[in-house]
């Protein structure tokens, strides 16, 4: 590779800075956001494994959709971090410590499926708030980050609605995805075959 490029010369960064974006702050928020997606994907794996019995079987598929879509959210936003001159922490422990949402631990009384759904619901609600913060920071200033964040947020909103329906019977308009982890909104930013 030839001589080093100064970050100041990256036009794609220049234009959003000129529009008023504090790129350093945005990167912190994005790393926290994808950190939460990555850790949530991990914890949802454990939660899904513990959806047992007749009731558990009924929610396995919906948990799997939310789990894979969270992984998709990590995939959709991470390239943007690098485009902006940021990077993921070298150590995964540091990454987890910086996550924008708390660890979605398996509840002690996991045999009660509702307790698992409560954990899922809290995770989705945190994700909505965290992507809303990115949308707020980028709206009208950084259309590319905004577009990815708003698409992720749309899926988080759906995930929240699914779990609210399962817990409280509040209709969510949910009907199955076309395939597991379809990501109907954020899928536009995925470069791999997903699902």
């Amino acid at each position: 590779m030839s001589k080093e490029i100064s970050e100041k010369d990256v036009v794609a960064v220049q234009v959003i800075e000129k529009a008023g974006i504090d790129v350093k702050k945005l990167l912190e928020l994005l790393i926290a956001g994808v950190g939460a997606e990555f850790t949530t994907y991990y914890y949802y794996t454990i939660l899904r494994m513990h959806c047992t019995g007749l009731e558990g079987e009924g929610i396995k598929e919906i948990v799997e959709d939310a789990r894979i879509e969270d992984r998709n959210h990590f995939e959709a936003m991470t390239p943007r971090i690098y485009e902006l001159g940021g990077r993921l922490p070298r150590d995964i422990r540091e990454f987890a410590d910086k996550a924008g949402c708390p660890d979605a631990y398996l509840p002690e009384n996991w045999k009660d499926v509702k307790e698992i759904i409560k954990v899922l619901l809290a995770a989705e609600q945190c994700a909505i708030r965290s992507w809303a913060a990115v949308c707020e920071m980028t709206y009208g200033k950084d259309p590319r980050t905004y577009d990815i964040a708003q698409r992720i947020m749309q899926e988080e909103i759906e995930h929240e609605a699914w779990f609210l329906e399962l817990l409280y019977g509040r209709p969510s308009a949910h009907f199955r995805r076309r395939f597991i982890g379809e990501s109907p909104h954020a899928g536009a930013h995925l470069r791999t075959t997903h699902g």
Partner: protein, 121 residues
């Protein structure tokens, strides 16, 4: 000191996000008292103007950590996070800015706007 807004631009117990000299800050009015602070939560950088006031604290909208408006220190974390690792709960202090009111106008001390990470050696 930089003039930011009129004292009546802010309703009591609310806050606004303003941009002065290319830097965003929050100006709030808590029980009639004007406060100014960094817009980003020191925990995970959520925008604080979507939060709320509680006693002498600002409550972050993302995880509801509470930061004292006189010291900037983290004073309370919801019990919901008791189980979480200390590393995850760790937070810096909220950056506070000095304000003065003159002729119904709010002024902010720009000197206090310099964040630690920007102090050059």
């Amino acid at each position: 000191m930089i003039k930011v807004c009129n004292i009546n631009d802010i309703k009591d117990n609310s806050m606004i996000l303003v941009c002065i000299e290319k830097r965003e800050i929050i100006i709030g009015k808590k029980d009639g008292r004007i406060v100014a602070f960094d817009p980003f939560c020191p925990h995970r950088h959520a925008y604080l103007h979507r939060g709320s006031f509680k006693d002498c604290n600002i409550v972050c909208p993302l995880h509801e950590f509470e930061f004292n408006l006189d010291t900037g220190k983290l004073v309370s974390i919801p019990a919901f996070y008791n189980e979480q690792r200390e590393e995850w709960k760790k937070s810096g202090d909220l950056i506070l800015y000095k304000t003065t009111i003159k002729d119904n106008c709010v002024y902010v001390d720009l000197k206090s706007l310099d964040r630690e990470d920007e102090v050059s050696s």
